[in-house]
Structures are given as structure tokens and as C-alpha cells.
Amino acid sequence: MTPPRAALPRTRDDFHAARGVLVVVRDPPPAVPPARGQPPTVPADPAEGVEILVAVWDDGSVTGLCGHVDLGTGLRTSLAQIVADELDVPFDAVAMALGDTARVPNQGPTIASASIQISSVPLRLAAAQARGWLVERAAARFAVARDALATRDGVVFVAPDPARCVSYGELVAGGHVQLELDPTTPVKPVALQRLVGQPVPRVDLPAKAAGEAVYVHDVRRPGMLHGRVVRPPYVGVDAGDFVGNSLVAVDEASIAHLPGIVAVVVIRDFVGVVAEREEVAEAAARALRVEWKPWPGVAGLADVKNALRTNPATRRVVAERGDVDAALASIAQPLTREYLWPYQLHASIGPSCAVADWHGERATVWTGSQNPHTLRADLARLVALPAPAIEVIRLEASGCYGRNCADDVAADALLLARATGRPVRVQLTREQEHLWEPKGAAQLMQVSGGLDAEGRALAYDFSTSYPSNAAPTLALLLTGTVAAQAVAFEMGDRTAVPPYAYAHLRVAAHDMAPILRASWLRGVSALPNSFAHESYIDELATAAGVDPVAFRLRHLDDPRAIELIAATTRRANWIPHTAPQGQGSDGNILKGQGFAYARYVHSRFPGFGASWTAWVADVEVDRVSGEVQVRRVVVGQDAGAIINPAGAVHQVHGNVVQTTSRALKEQVPLDARGAPEAREWGAYPILSFREVPVIEVVTMPRQGEPPLGIGEASSVPGTAAIANAIFDAIGVRLREPPFTPETVRAALGVATPAAAAPALAAPAVPTGSITPVRRRRRGAWSVAAALVAGALGMAGALLGWRPALAPVGASDPSLFTAAALSRGREVAAAGNCAVCHTAPGGVTNAGGRTMATPFGTLVTTNLTPDPDTGLGRWSYAAFARAMREGISRDGRHLYPAFPYTAFTRLSDDDLLALYAYLMAQPPVRNEVAKVDLPFPYGRPAIAIWNALFLDPGAYAPDPTRGAAWNRGAYLVEAAGHCGACHTPRGALGAERGGGAYLAGAMVEGWEAPPLTAASHAPVPWTEDEFFRYLRDGHTREHGSVAGPMAPIVRDLASLPETDVRAIATYLASLHGPAGDTAAVARSLAQASRGIAVDSEAARLFDGACGACHHGGDGPVLVGRNLPLAHYSSLHSTRPDNLLRVILEGVRDPATAQIGFMPAFHDALSDRQVALVAAYLRARFAPDKPAWPDLESAVARIRAHPTP
């Protein structure tokens, strides 16, 4: 299928050079003189010529061009409706070009809901003008008067004789006609509109639902590389001397081991890495050692309200009437209030991404920016090219609601592309997007006013402090291209003037520079300002003893507002009241209804009014937990003419959900430095599906009026409506969103429900300890004898008395029987030889893995039969001596990290089979470092150690026990050497005996939990549970295997089932009878449900972990969601295993069914990990004491990652 011509041109020149087209153009509007404190406007470059608005092609297709972009709002669809309607062409004949700088007009940033209200105007005029020209052409062709012609579906016809017709395509065929936009062109009257005002399906959704749409994240260019950036330590702050001046050094050698690194790019504080593959770029950004100067942090943000009060500001009075000071001096009922808005995030679901290509004197950048022309000017400045030499191609991206990191990442990509000369795609991480996006600023609103003697609002003295600016594109600051100064903007005045007829009024904006990097976010300064206006007037109504809606109406004279409020409250069944009602409250659930109204006034003061909006919110407040649920929202809106009613309703829905989320949940947490701490969704929760209210939209019929901004405008009164509803429910006024359970509990004076556990039902664990006794403990005499022997042995060692055994030629594997090899494989699996004798990423059993011991770091040896570096020249005698006595072939003592104290128990047959198996493997040449520990742990000392702790000899069965038990004991004690990890060691590093056997120990930073009755497992172990745990790597009653145990379970898979069963039989015998384990599990579940209190920790857990870990009320995902209450790691005395799993994740589980867990190392701070761990302990092990000093434990484990 030939694509329509309308979709083809990429640049203005393509339009100008085309034949068979009619274009409507305009001269670029004159540069707007820069306005102080407003978002930068970038004037058009005259060298780029006229701006094209509409093109009608000879194939009947039409291009519409607009400088604004579709952010998921449906703008592409609505603009196409306008063009198609005005031109009288079929809707699908129109292709919209949005945002691409090489072709669309420069209409500034897509902000303030102004796209339809303002930016569609020239487009509509151009379409009308094109239609006029086509009609005129047809009039000449048919020699009739213009009035005799009509248009429909891209055809002009003679109205009384429709057979006389000509298509638009024919009228433009062969020529190139260019019309200058005539702003006086008449447009269609409402009565004749066919598409505008009709619901039209979004044009972009089918491709998106099919996975065919190309977002900026999906751009792929030939030869494209992948980049990542490394950001400086001054997290989320963009002004100050340290910005661009903090880098000390970058150590490129730290990533030399990674394959396919193309470049490390460093320009002052800008640091980026480029690699052939994305996962390598990701690993490089993580591994690159970068040294920064210390950053002291942001002072004073521990108290945001005070920080806003004291931030240097310029007071600017924007409205004044009457005599506020005099009125306040004489007021009958004064009321002074402060309202505080928190820092919030745009929180785009997809972290920003861009692709750039550098062609020397020109560059191309693919971006999801909201303001492509402004971005182009920034990029030009960054790389010192003229703006027209940079082509900014705008693609759809993850929704943005102001200014996220889309521009930042485009600049990052351009720098990396310039450095490499190849196209580079840069993807920011979730952590970077959360930390660095320009925040929606905190804002402080202060009101003094009150009522006169008749209960009318008399005065309103309002000031608002909004610390935000345009958030300069980061790379400009990091590279020092632009000085990182704290510039104040004048944008706090949006909707700062209340809509009410207060007799004496003064409104002042306190213009101030940002504290944290901040820029516009949906409802720019208006949402907070309106929150204050609408909360305050509710407070006045209560003080006056008047229904809040009636009180507002007394002070409103705008007829459209009054009609809207009437329609909205009618739909919502508003019940007039003069005091908090708590209607229909039920037990601990208190119910309330709240109202608020606003007309969003945006852009430079005095600005433009967008739609009128009224909200009625119904809430439920749990007076014990403090949780607020918004149950129903009725939104009334007067948006003037509506282009696409379906799209308008979707926009309102979206804004209700987002506003409810911001009101109830959203606040950027700040760390001790005052820097943003949220790096993922647990620390910055947004509304979940569970919390979405019923939403009803009331639309006022105003098709004859000009269209007004819809989406953003509908959000503005939302927060106050919710706060007012909470007041109606509980009688307490909340003036500082978000209205979290803690806020509500504090307001109600309710103590935080104790995390103290409901007493755990005494677990049905029979007491009576069973002490496993390792056989053959020595008597005092044998110890003495051994010491003598050891001393002799040591002397011998020093004198070289342990002989080297002669090297032999390589064994011929064909001499070993298949049965021997098979048995040897099982012994190797039971012994997990490969776990220690394989280096990460290395060949199995070829050695080279480093092992940290308390006495020093060792390197494991090569077990393959390579003659020079492995066991190739070892006779069986040498092998058996090493296994039984810990003596290497050359006569040196082996360190007992090699568990010969266990292997000595192997039977002769197993030992021989193992030898045969190892000798039959392919030889691998791998020279491993020979390590000698420093004195006093040198090899000679091992002789004494052996005398004390080595008890050579094969396992002797216990005749009082059955065959299975003896087989299990043999596997555990000999090949399995379970005690090597699970038995605590004495000062000299030997496994302790007696009751300490298998009683749990620390190994490589992990706790090998007790396997005996000392187990921390809350549900008692049974033979069956041991069997399933070792076989599957997980059970419902004991959770899943992690850490160094995972590869052990994988090895056990090659053991016969009877052997694993035998191990289980033996291990279970170390425990008493288990009793009713199901009852224990039930009581654990009961106890953990009882203390699920909403708190920062609970929200962190829910957001970060809750997709996989939940009690059955969440999604079903691949992997096992096992009850956390059953994991022994949560019941242990040490938090180490839990903390390691949180920090390091589960990347290589014992079995595939267990599933995978990400490492939260980079996503959660020490404090946050500690918070989650403490929460899990309190919730799932409520009978255990809290772990002390968790935060330092996190830091310690972070500093010593699992090798």
C-alpha cells in the first residue's frame, strides 16, 4: 500500500519542493520579548523561512502541522478532527505532524492545557483558508458562483447538481500553491461542524495495543550504541558552586574487564559510558569508579515550611482591592491559616530516553520532549551549533505532565554521540529519573482574613511561595556551559487570585529560586494555590455556620460558575450542612463529603482562564488506621466547546486519579542531606487500582463557546475537595497534603496501632532438645596423644617428612567402568565439588574461585585432569591421601577450608569412584594462584591443627539405626560436608563438636542456619519438608533456598531420590516430633495479618516487594509467592540473610520454579532497607525481638557483597 503523501515530508524543504500540493504558511510570529521569570520562549530563526500549517495533497491526503505534542492526551486525534472538519475531508485523510523541529511551527512548550485553546487556532484558520481556496478553484472550473458550491469528504460539488464535482486532489494536482495565512479567514459555525464535538476513537491506540507503535524508547538506528550516564552526588540539586565543579577523577580501569566498551565521556561533572550492548553500558555505569568532592547537602529542608518561609524572595503583589489592612484590623472573626504543599514527582512510568546522531556540522536527536524547539536551542548551545543544524524529531514517550528528564537525556545522548561519531541511545535508570527529574515544587500559602459581623467573608490577604524555575537542561549545567545559578521565576501566581468576591483582597507572590531542582508539574502553582483558597473558604463557611456550597455561592457572581456548581452538586446528591456530618459512618469507618471549585488560570499573569471545574468527593476515613479512601468523585466541567467528548472524559478521569493520588499519597521523601530519597515506587507510591474511586463527569453543554483547556484544569480543585471531605468525616482540618494514614492518625490524636504482636499461639513444637552427637568424640587421652603426634607431625613437616608422592602419567579413563563413573558423578554432586572449585564464569571444576576465610583469602585448585595445572599427575594414592589426610601430592598440607575432615569419612569405594570420575573429565589448563597464608597460619601449623581436629577414617554406621538413617548420616557427614558451613567453628577454625554440630554458622557473609533443633524456622521441620526443600529448593512451610545454598540444591538434583530422602531422614532425626505444623502455619498467618499497619515501611514493602510478595491479594506472577512468615531468615537472631537477599536479589535460584528477585542495592538507601527489614521482622516474626542497629548492618553488608 502506498503511504499517503501527507505522511511523507520530513522537512519544510520537502513541502516547498513538492508538486501537487497546496500549502498554507505563515511568517514566524515576531520574537516575544523575554518576559521576566517566565518559561523561555525561543524565537523562530528567520533563516528557516515560513512556517507550514496545512498541506493538501493531490492524493487527497492532508498534513496538519502543530508545534505542540501529544503526551497521551489525545491531542493528535483532536487536532486531526479540527483540520478534517474545517477542510471537509474524511477524518482519516489527515496526518498530523507534531513537534518535529524541521517541519512544524514553533509554538513553544506544550504546557498549561493550552494546545487546543491557543495552539490549534492558526491550524484551524489555515484549514478554513485552504478550503476557501479549493472552493474558489472549483468555482472557476465550473463557472459558478462560490455560493453555489459545497464541500464534503474532500470533494467540491455544485450544490444543486452534486454530479458536477471535483476532488481536492484534482484541484491541487500538478501545481504548487502557497497561501499566506489570513487570520481573518472565517471558520465554520458550530452548526455546520460534523467532526468537532463528536467522539472519535484515538488514532494512536491500535498500534500501541499491537506493539507496533514506535516510542522514543524504541528508536533503533544502524550502528547504534548504548549509553548510560553517571550522575554527581548533589542529587536533584541544580544550583550552587559545586554544580559542574565536583568531579575529582574517573578510573577507566575499573571497567576494563567489560567487553565492548566504546567510550567513557567526561566533561566536568558530566560522565557517560558508551558500549556496544545495553546491558554492558548498564554494568559499566554501575562499576565505573568515579571520585567526587564531598557534597554537604541542602541545609534546612528537614522543615520544608520553614525553608519556604526563609528562602530569599521578592514579594510581588499581583492583585489588590479595597483596604485589606484596615479590614483585618477591624475584623469581627479573624482567621489566619497556612497551607503547605509537598515536593512531588511527575513520576513518568518510563524513565526518559533519547537517541542522537552526530554528523559533524549537523545532528539529529530523537526525543520525547514536551518542548522540542526549546530543547533544540539548548542543544545548540551545548554543542555550539546553530539551532537549525539540529533536527529534533519528536516521538511519543511515557506520559509527562510538565517537565521530566526528557530534555536532559536528549542532551546526554547528543554529547555521547558527538564523542563516538555513532548514533547513541541513552536510557536513564528508574533511580535517575526519580532523583533528578525537576520536582513539582513545595509551596507555602498563607492567608489572613475572616468574617464580618454578618458572617460574610470580609478580607483575604493571600501570599504564596513557589520555589521553582524552568530547570535548565542538566548537561548545560554539568558541563559548565551555563552557570548553575539559583534563578527565581515568576510562576507562583497561577490561579493565585481566588474566584470569590472578597471585599478587601490582596494577593502576593513571593518569587523565589528553587531549593531542589524544580519546574512545572501539572497544575503549576495553581493546584496548591487553589487548595488553599478552597480549604480556607470551607473553614470560613464552618466558622459562619453556613453550608460550604451555599457560602461559596454567596461570594460568586460568575454565572457559568454558578450553573456549574448547581449541576455538579445536584448529580452528587450534595447534602447541605453547617458542621461535619460523618454521615452514614459505620464502626471505625467515618464518611464525609467535600466540595471545591476552581477556574484554572494559567500562563503569565494575569493569564488565561481554562475550564471551570467543580468537585464533590465522597471519602471514607478509618479512624483507627487513619486510612483515607476516596470512594466517589463527581466532577463538573464547563470547558466551552469540546472537540472530542470521549477524549475529554478520559482526560478528566486521568486527572481525577492523578490528583487523588497526589492528595493521598505523594510526597518526595528527603534524606538527612535534604536530597530526594525516593528512587523507586515503594518510596514514592502512587494510587493503585485498589484505590481508584468511582468517577462521574458532568459536562456543561457549551458547544457554541470557544474551547478551553480540559485535562489539567479538571485537577485544580481536587485536593481541597478531598481535604474538605475528610473534615466532614472526622471534623479535623488537614492543611498539608498528602493525607497519609500517619497524618490522619496524628490529626485524630490516635496512637499508632502498636506493632506489638497479638501473642503467638504457642507453637505446637514439642520441647525436649535433641543433641546430635557427632560420633567418635575423643577422650582426653586421645587428645593428648594426638597433640604429641601433631607436634611430631609438625616437626616432620618442617623437616619435610611428609613425602611427595611421585607424579604419574595421566590415567586412562577407559579403564574406569561406567558404574564407577556414574557413582563418582553422584559423589561429586553430593560433595558439591564444583561449587567451590569453579570460578565465577569459569569452567566447571577448573578452580580459581577465591574464598575468604577468617585467616586469609584462599584460591581453589584445578580438579580437572590437566597434567600441569590440575590433577593429571595425581595417583589414586595421592588423591586418597589428600581426601583423607589433607596432604597435597607434593607433601604440603592443604588448608582445612578444603573439608578433608569430612571427606575422610568417605568409603573407599566412593573415593575411588570420585577419583575415576574426576580423571575422566576433559582436562582444562588453568593455573591458579598458590596462596600461602601468613604466619601463624602457614602450612606447617596445619600439622598441629590436624592432630587436634582431624579424625581420619571412613564413616562407621550406627548399628542401632536403620539403613536410610545411616545413609543420610554418611551423606551429611562425608561427601555432603554439611558441617563445613552449618557447624560453627572454634577459634582455630575447626568445626566445633558436641551440641554445636550443625548448629548454624556464618559463611561468606551468609548465615548457614542451624539444621538441628536450634533451627529458627517457625514451622518445625519434618522429614518430608527437608526432602522437598532439598529437592525443589522451596516449600510452602519453609520458603525458598537462597545464597550459597542454591548451587548445593542444584547439585543434589543429580542424586538419586533415595539419597536425598536419606539426608532428610537423618536431618529430621535431629529434631523432635513436629506436631501439627499446619496449625503453626495458621497461627503465624494470623499473627502477621494482625499488625499490617500502614506506615512508610509498609508502603515501601508494598511498592517495592508487593508485586511478588503478598498474601494472595495481588498479582499472580512467575515464581513462588511463599509466606514470608515461614522463612527462617526472618526469625533468626541475625538479619544478614534477609538483608543480603534484599540488596543482592536472587539471580540464580536453586530451581527455575522459585523465580527471580531483583537486587535493590541501587534502589533503596540503607535507611530504607533497614525500614523494610524491621517491618518484615515485626510483621512476620512478631514474637521475636527487633533486630538492633539494622542500618549499620545494611551498611556493613553493602560494603561486603557476596563474592
Binding site: 503526551l71 506493539g211 486519579v657 495481588g1114 498479582p1115 531483583p1158
Partner: protein, 163 residues
């Protein structure tokens, strides 16, 4: 190839076997997007928190950003691109289009894939079951109302077409 001489990683995606040059520890999401050129699954958080990257593994929803590709070798992986049958979009996709259940659409992949997995398990889910299933699927634009409708619509379509 990966250059280490190790055998290529073999994945079964949308019914076809693919040998890819990635190391087994590479996130499945990265392999699907970069080695197989699939745009359906999206990178959202890399932590399995948001659901934008959801695919099906043996018919069960899976968050591709937290799964090492080597961990699902040999299992049947389905992406958004693999739902259509004989040139016809899957009923869940059609239901989402009909209800206009997206604004920017970045989360749409996860919403559709999660619905397909849910309906395979619970053909007629209640509203509470749907909300629980989507409790950790994040949408920032606020298309929740339309998404909930789309899931119900999809359940009806699937049931109807099964007849």
C-alpha cells in the same frame, strides 16, 4: 556471538526459537527488545515494581526486567507482538482499543499481558479480583477507569469467541 566461546542462549519467543548473543545473566527484557527487536515490553523500573515489561512465561505473567534471560531458556515466552492470531488482534487487545484504555500507552503492554494471563486463569473475574491482579501494575496518566472496563470487556469477548 558472545566471544567467550560459550554456546548461544536459545529462547523460545512467540512460538519461534532464537539464538541470541547475550550472556545468560542479561535481563530478558533487554534481550527481547535489543536482540529480537520487540517493542511491546517496556522498561519501567528494572525492579519488577510497575509491570510495564510484562510478558508471559508458559502463559503466566512475568516481569521481564527482573528475569535473567538464561533463567527462562526452554520455556515458552509470549510478548504483546505474539498475541495476534492469523492477522487478527487478540480479543484483549481489541477490548483495550475499544475502551480507549490508555493515555500515553507506556503501561499498556503490561495491562494487556496481565489481562491475558488473568483471563487464562479466571475467565470471569470479579471487579475485586481484577483490582487485586492489577494492584501492582502502575499507570501514571490515570487510565484506570478505562482499563478496568477493558478487562471486563475482554472477559466478555473471550467468552463469546470461545463459543
Amino acid at each position: 556471538m558472545s566471544g567467550t566461546g560459550s554456546p548461544p542462549l536459545r529462547l523460545t519467543v512467540n512460538g519461534r526459537d532464537h539464538d541470541v548473543a547475550a550472556t545468560p545473566g542479561t535481563a530478558l527484557l533487554t534481550v527481547l527488545r535489543n536482540d529480537l527487536g520487540l517493542n511491546g515490553p517496556k522498561y519501567g523500573c528494572g525492579l519488577g515494581e510497575c509491570g510495564a515489561c510484562t510478558v508471559l512465561v508458559d502463559g503466566v505473567a512475568a516481569r521481564a526486567c527482573v528475569i535473567p534471560a538464561g533463567g527462562v531458556a526452554g520455556r515458552a515466552i509470549t510478548t504483546l507482538e505474539g498475541l495476534a492470531q492469523e492477522g487478527m488482534l487478540h480479543p484483549v487487545q481489541r477490548a483495550f482499543i475499544a475502551e480507549e484504555a490508555a493515555q500515553c500507552g507506556y503501561c499498556l503492554n503490561g495491562m494487556i499481558m496481565t489481562t491475558v494471563a488473568l483471563l487464562a486463569r479466571r475467565p470471569q473475574p470479579t471487579d475485586a479480583e481484577i483490582r487485586a491482579e492489577f494492584a501492582r501494575s502502575l499507570c501514571r496518566c490515570g487510565a484506570h477507569v478505562e482499563i478496568l472496563r477493558a478487562v471486563h470487556h475482554a472477559a466478555a469477548l473471550v467468552a463469546h469467541e470461545a463459543k
